[in-house]
Amino acid sequence: MFFAGLLAVLAGIGLAAARALRGPTTFDRLVAANSIGTGAILLLALLGFASGRPEFLDIGLVYALLNLVGTFAVLKFFRYGALGHEGLEEEEEERA
């Protein structure tokens, strides 16, 4: 049963990778990357169960954390061109 799940997850990751390569805007690619990240977590969990070593779940937890932080980092870098940018507050001060 774990191998059937692995096949489904791999098919999902492949389709998302197709969108990531094709996507016209950066946001399309980011949506696809987020989807690939979710697929990677499931892939790790299923692989751990299929090989009888569920310790892989710890790596899955770390991937779940990295997925969220990575998406935010790319979004911020794409908007401001730097990760250490102060964000919207500075712009509002400039406007005032």
């Binding site: 946001f27 779940l57 937890l61």
Partner: protein, 116 residues
């Protein structure tokens, strides 16, 4: 007997999760717009991952593995909407317009004057 029941339940849950995952990925490829594509991936983020993790929980029994799977599930269910919201807001601020159908596609395809 109990093992058989447990295996059948796991098969159904993991298979259903896989179907939802593939449906979400197909939607990611077929939808016309960034926002509709996000809508399609939310299916695989909630139902696909959720059903698969619950199916693995059934296999794990009452142990630390199940606790870790539960944390993974809760984490996915909290972070996926946050990431999608941030993405949608960034896309709107960057000037991506949602694709809007001006007239109903059903009305547009009916040829006029054919009702005799």
């Amino acid at each position: 007997m109990l093992d058989l029941v447990r295996d059948v339940v796991s098969w159904v849950l993991i298979g259903g999760g896989g179907i939802f995952l593939v449906i979400g990925a197909i939607g990611l490829n077929r939808m016309p717009d960034v926002f509709t594509r996000m809508h399609a991936t939310s299916v695989s983020d909630t139902f696909g991952a959720g059903l698969m993790l619950v199916g693995m929980m059934v296999q794990g029994g009452f142990s630390l593995v199940t606790a870790k799977l539960l944390f993974l599930l809760l984490f996915l269910w909290f972070t996926a909407p946050v990431a999608t919201h941030a993405l949608a807001r960034a896309a709107l601020l960057a000037g991506c317009k949602p694709a809007v159908v001006e007239e109903s596609p059903v009305d547009a395809e009916v040829p006029k004057g054919d009702e005799q």
